[in-house]
């Protein structure tokens, strides 16, 4: 019955993942979209740790460590790109940055 203890955590991880996805779809601000990706990364972290505790392993927690590292790199690069876009266009609205649109 040990697995039943951790299944609510997996469900919560699903909810946070869906919220992050909805955030990326509906938000028009580039910085807010990056914030939503952080939500999704956190959802994955919760699922990793919950499955770890179910399986009696610690490898998932090691992967959470790597996800934290990659999230820091992603935030640095993403925000650098947003700053570059802002300098070029004076705007971070996705509705006006549409050069690649057909």
């Amino acid at each position: 019955m040990l697995a039943a203890e951790y299944t609510p955590y997996v469900a919560l991880s699903g909810l946070l993942m869906v919220l992050g996805l909805v955030g990326i779809i509906v938000r028009r601000n580039l910085i807010a979209m990056l914030l939503s990706t952080e939500l999704m990364l956190n959802a994955v972290n919760i699922a990793f740790v919950a499955f770890d505790k179910m399986l009696f392993n610690v490898e998932g927690q090691v992967f959470v460590f790597f996800i934290l590292t990659i999230a820091a790199a992603e935030a640095a690069i993403g925000l650098g790109l947003i700053m570059a876009i802002y300098r070029l266009r004076k705007d971070v609205n996705t509705e006006t940055i549409t050069e690649l649109k057909l």
């Binding site: 509906v26 399986l55 927690q61």
Partner: protein
Amino acid sequence: MEQVLNDWAFYTFSALAIVSALGVVFFKNIVYAVLSLISTLIMVSGLFFSMGAELIGGLQILIYAVAIVVFYVLVISTVPEFKGNSVDPGYMLVSMPLGFILFLELAYVSLYGIWKEAVGVITPEVEVEVGNTKAVATMLFTKYLFPFEVASIILLVAMIGAIIIGRKNHVIDEEEAK
């Protein structure tokens, strides 16, 4: 008694995490959204603690809720206030029901699915004896030593890349100016 307390910790932290996540998605003012993100990250860290992953919970607060959020605050302080719709009503109409259905499916599968369990060696008894931090750190520095070093290189590359991308005057512009 311990189980009851753990349940209450789960309900409290998860409810606050969901409310703050809604704030991240729907606040128009980006500063409020970042504050909600800090709240979400701290609540997720509390969930890690209630699951018994102390090392990850501490790292979550140290790296996520402090270091990464500082990046966002610094960038928000340079980009002026966002004008225009914070959310797109058309996409909202489509994505909210679809997201809800997706969540129902994920919750159904995770609550009523049959998961593989108890195949590893770190049973709760072993974990009490060794300690979560020592177990994770031993795995990190033995089996996953090479990925650990690669992660450090990724961080270095990201740092250099962020400096070059975020620099004010690019080299090409300077050559054109001459």
